[in-house]
């Protein structure tokens, strides 16, 4: 069996005295979705930053397609066909939607892409994320949902094998979430491995093959979505001990 698309072994990161992430290990195979949940401050974005090279780990390793890319710079990781979205989305303002996406197409591949091939890829991606009609708009003119799709489009332009999403669905309406989920399912079908950090439980439940719960920088539990969400420890971590206790007592009564 070939190596998983993403493997993290015993990954950790400290900031001075703060252990943002400690001893985290996981694997994600082709076409599978790993949902990453946990209360705020649990270390989810740190984990993504460690995988994409925006932060260097204090310990542990990151393997992409079997290659050890621990501590590599972000552009090296991008050329290894790893893409991500950012929690705070900052599209390239001075450029149109099309130009935003085409930059990814131009630089994302291991070989330099000719403008013609980049343009073809750009059109593909714009169609995939449903922004063809808005291709000539500037990012300021887009709605929130459209901006998210642009962010996703920019990531997809590099033809990723691994896609890391940082709270892509935050603040979206029901219909918009469904549209994004549909898109993610089609990517899954194409064999893209996905790690999705989310607070929107509906999204996690419907799309994840496995869910990984982070709490205070460490793994709390993992398993399939139904198991994890029912796990009392997870409820406690998210909602606090007193609430968890009260809801258990209410459940018994």
């Amino acid at each position: 069996m070939s190596a998983p698309v993403l493997e993290i072994r015993d990954l950790s990161r400290r900031f001075g005295g703060l252990e943002a992430l400690a001893g985290v290990s996981a694997t994600v195979g082709e076409g599978s979705v790993l949902g990453l949940i946990g209360p705020n401050g649990a270390g989810k974005t740190t984990l993504i930053n460690l995988v994409t090279g925006h932060l260097a780990p204090s310990g542990g390793s990151v393997l992409i397609d079997g290659r050890d890319l621990t501590g590599a710079r972000p552009w090296t990781i991008a050329k290894a066909r790893v893409a991500r979205t950012f929690q705070i989305i900052k599209p390239f303002r001075g450029m149109t939607v099309r130009e935003n996406v085409s930059i990814g197409a131009m630089f994302g591949s291991a070989r330099t892409a000719s403008p013609r091939r980049a343009a073809a890829r750009t059109d593909e991606v714009l169609a995939q994320v449903g922004l063809t009609a808005r291709a000539d708009a500037t990012p300021q003119e887009l709605s929130v949902a459209e901006t998210r799709r642009l962010e996703l489009g920019r990531a997809l332009a590099i033809r990723p094998r691994l896609l890391l999403l940082d709270e892509l669905m935050a603040g979206l309406r029901h219909g918009e979430i469904d549209a994004v989920l549909e898109l993610l399912r089609s990517l899954k079908a194409e064999g893209v491995a996905i790690v999705a950090v989310e607070h929107v439980m509906r999204a996690i439940m419907s799309i994840s093959d496995q869910v990984f719960v982070l709490h205070e920088g460490r793994e709390l539990t993992r398993g399939n979505p139904a198991e994890v969400v029912a796990d009392p420890r997870v409820v406690e971590a998210y909602l606090g001990e007193r609430y968890a206790r009260r809801s258990r007592e209410a459940g018994r009564a």
Partner: protein
């Protein structure tokens, strides 16, 4: 073309070069642009026969600053890394030329490319560590490097003549190259200004230019899609260094006698920044406008208000920064697009 809507109220969108996004898809024939540029250049080349020495020197100075402003534009305007030490390249280019001509007896035309190479080399040397810094730190580090370079030059008197300066033999049997004269230097600076503007124009359309702009607007995002930000930034710095060093080289020959305080004068840096910013940093023609406008303004002030001209210049800078920080080119474009001229809008965007 999609219809454009103005940004929502309360959204603080600093003036960006959004207009250029549309202009990059040329609706009119590119030959029109090329033709105009060619005509302008030919006119400028022929102009000196109509002018006398002092005016030729003035225009030569204008062209020099066009080149300097464009050079700064690459690293400061496009990449967004405001270098406050570009004068280091200017001085190094000038001193390399002078030293080669005086000590080694080289011809100016041989020394010139070497000066350019020194500019590139120094930019790479300083750039690799420096581009790890952001914002003010980069500005100050480059400023520190420029000041330090001047001090080093001053402290190598056997090579550079130290604080007293060095003189290039321009006439007589010692001269390795005959002095170019007013017309010659006019042409030399004109060619450099043209090349610099051409370089920036080509840059703006190229992959490299896109990479620079991406880095400027979202460096982490740029890195995440595969742009080697270190290499791109150092490359921009190197181009900036090259053009600035060439300007310094020609300047040194023109002045004949050079000394460190002049060739490494920090006001040269500030002038080139002011010109690029007021004209419009990140645009192709902004620095041209800025250099032309500010040089003429400076000259006019100098002749009409000899004592107070720097004072007035300072006042003008202050006023212009407050009302036109995005530069004349972007301001005009936006005003033209929206058929509305509003100086106060910018103030409202940036004020506390």
């Amino acid at each position: 073309m999609a219809t454009s809507t103005p940004p929502a109220r309360g959204v603080k969108a600093p003036p960006t070069d959004t207009a250029s996004a549309r202009e990059r898809s040329p609706a009119r024939s590119p030959w029109l642009g090329w033709g105009t540029a060619a005509c302008v250049l030919v006119l400028l080349a022929l102009l000196p026969s109509q002018l006398y020495g002092g005016q030729q020197r003035l225009l030569a100075g204008v062209f020099m600053f066009v080149a300097l402003a464009q050079a700064w534009n690459v690293i400061g305007g496009f990449a967004g890394y405001a270098s406050f030490g570009n004068v280091a390249f200017f001085g190094l280019g000038g001193y390399t030329t002078a030293v080669l001509m005086v000590k080694a007896g080289w011809s100016f035309w041989l020394a010139l490319p070497v000066a350019g190479l020194i500019g590139v080399g120094f930019a790479v040397l300083v750039g690799i560590p420096a581009v790890r810094l952001r914002g003010h730190y980069f500005a100050i580090a480059t400023l520190g490097v420029a000041e330090g370079t001047r001090e080093v030059v001053v402290n190598l008197p056997r090579l550079t003549g130290g604080g007293a300066g060095i003189t290039v033999p321009a006439v007589g049997p010692e001269a390795t190259t005959s002095y170019l004269g007013n017309y010659g230097f006019y042409q030399a600076f004109l060619v450099l200004a043209g090349l610099s503007t051409l370089a920036v124009w080509a840059l703006a359309r190229s992959r490299f230019g896109y990479a620079l702009r991406a880095i400027h607007q979202n460096e982490d995002g740029a890195a995440a899609i595969g742009i080697n930000t270190t290499r791109v930034k150092v490359g921009a710095f190197a181009l900036s260094g090259l053009l600035t060093a060439l300007a310094g080289a020609i300047y040194a020959f023109q002045q004949v006698s050079i000394y460190p305080d002049r060739l490494f004068d920090v006001s040269i840096t500030v002038l080139m920044v002011v010109m690029a910013v007021f004209g419009g940093s990140g645009t192709v023609f902004g620095p041209v406008l800025g250099a032309v406008g500010l040089q003429f303004l400076s000259e006019w002030l100098r002749t009409h208000y000899t004592e107070a001209h720097t004072f007035i210049f300072g006042a003008i800078i202050v006023v212009a920064i407050v009302f036109l920080p995005q530069g004349v080119v972007s301001f005009s474009r936006d005003a033209w697009k929206r058929r509305r001229v509003s100086l106060l809008e910018t103030v409202r965007t940036y004020r506390l």
